[in-house]
Symmetry: C2
Subunit: 358 residues, 2 copies
Amino acid sequence: MTYNFNAGPAMLPKEVMEIAKNEFLDYQNSGISVMEMSHRGVHFDEVIKTAESDLRKLLNISDNYSVIFYSGGATLQFSAVPMNLLLENEKADYVLTGVWAKKSFEEAKKLGYKVRGILDQKENNYTVIPEIKKSDIEEGIKYLYITSNNTLYGSRYKNFPDHGIPLVADMTSELLSREININSFACIFAGAQKNIGPSGLSILIIKNSYLNKQTKPIPVLLDYSLMAKNKSLYNTPPTFSVYIAKLVFEWCLKKGGVGELEKLNEEKANLLYSFLDKSEFYFAPVEKNSRSSMNVVFLLKNNSLEKNFLEEAELAGLHGLAGHRDVGGFRASIYNAMPKEGIESLINFLEDFKKKNS
Amino acid sequence: MTYNFNAGPAMLPKEVMEIAKNEFLDYQNSGISVMEMSHRGVHFDEVIKTAESDLRKLLNISDNYSVIFYSGGATLQFSAVPMNLLLENEKADYVLTGVWAKKSFEEAKKLGYKVRGILDQKENNYTVIPEIKKSDIEEGIKYLYITSNNTLYGSRYKNFPDHGIPLVADMTSELLSREININSFACIFAGAQKNIGPSGLSILIIKNSYLNKQTKPIPVLLDYSLMAKNKSLYNTPPTFSVYIAKLVFEWCLKKGGVGELEKLNEEKANLLYSFLDKSEFYFAPVEKNSRSSMNVVFLLKNNSLEKNFLEEAELAGLHGLAGHRDVGGFRASIYNAMPKEGIESLINFLEDFKKKNS
């Protein structure tokens, strides 16, 4: 048995991949693949409408929000968010809990928007999600920007800031893994390649009251109002990726929904963190209250064994455990699709490796 | 036997789809799908490098050009082209041979660039590709923009304008279907969903001398210089789509390359146009010199039979023949992947339908 701990593109549910393989050449007796169908035909129409309505069910998204299936990843939204949301002279604060938040902040600044980076956690090596006090935030800002889960460092907001200021959140590595109250957010976006589907697709959830306000020209495909009005079909969407996302949403519903997935995710993550915390051989550097349930970062106390560790893990069928090149060490990405057995296999391997090397 | 005449997303080569299905769950004994692999791992590294080098072979692209695999379709490039290519006070002319050229022109204009739309063919219902005289073009422009093949109207440039002015071409519906001299072009882009792969991917070929010149800020993912520098890996590319493109490029090489595909495409298109021109029941509205080899538009002389025609074609296994909603009539999209047998089946059906209805 092998397990795929890649941070993204990441493993998808086995059941989803099997359905996709079985109907790869012939979707519902149409004689052709979903990939070869018109995005304006009856089959794809049903695919995208089902995907949207299932996502709305899973996250309890009201009609006050639009759901858009976007080509491209989260980085495209780093530009689009301020272009759409910041009107003349409006401001925003960005909480700098990691490299993606920083990139998003720098993009908004580069494009000439009035944004501030706050509470930079660089001195903590991004191992802490800071408490955000009302006094940290500039008065009158349009939105407070957060990266809800930091894939690289394995940290996340246990609770979201709650000062009555609309949040904009990059939820790439945790959308669908935990329950959220959509109504706290002006806008949420997420690249698909963690919990949702193939890379090259992202999901945007935007409160309708923010649409149709911008008067400055926006590059056509970055224009949320236009995309929402055309229900993701202004141009050809990434049809096959939307189809995979639809299968994933159906799988999530079958698993009992986001609440049930969250319980399972907490259980999986706790299993691994408890093991690491008890160990004198490994350790988890992220502050306990800031730990991600999706990306578990850990290190060896003796880091000269890192290369050996990765080689032996590969041989044991545990793939993708290398930490991000900016961070080093190890990272087990354990998204919705990772079964509990994967964590147990990893812990067994960690035990064995320790015995052999201590 | 069924044939898929969709304009795009369109049929892909059967051999490609079968390979993709066979390795869908397990790519080269890795135990996981290409879709689930890191874009920075050894497997995908080989996929994207092979894709690029095969595309360079197929189109004879020199090292003076960068090749970029882009998330999203051609519409994204409507914004990116002027943002990257037009420096302070520089100008461009757009030849208005159809709706996509017009959209691209309007986008550049909306974003504040100094562009002119020329030779608008609206009065001909876009059935003609005009001859472009030197005097039609404003002196000193940076580029002349063309849509090389008009998917909607079934028209194309038989020869490209040759006045020593760098061309920018949207080749979405014909890249890889005919030989081109890359050196005439400042930049070529193409959405993948016709001759290349799934929707949500596009290919950009840009002359390096146009990179690193722009001083105005560009939204990060629209920045050609940054994308070229990072070899399509600044952010996560649409990995599975790049993989399908790679398989398609390999298929093109096996077929003998673009020159051989072009011969076959001309043969296929001529077969169909000859039939239509001889017919007193159907007709092809596009001027003979302007006819596309990829999208064959045709009409019934008695258009009251249109609905019947489409219903009976579907029953006969000939899918996707409805004309674009802006044009009406019929359209047979016969990209590289359409075998000659598909055209013969279509002609047989056209004969039968005529006999039954005349």
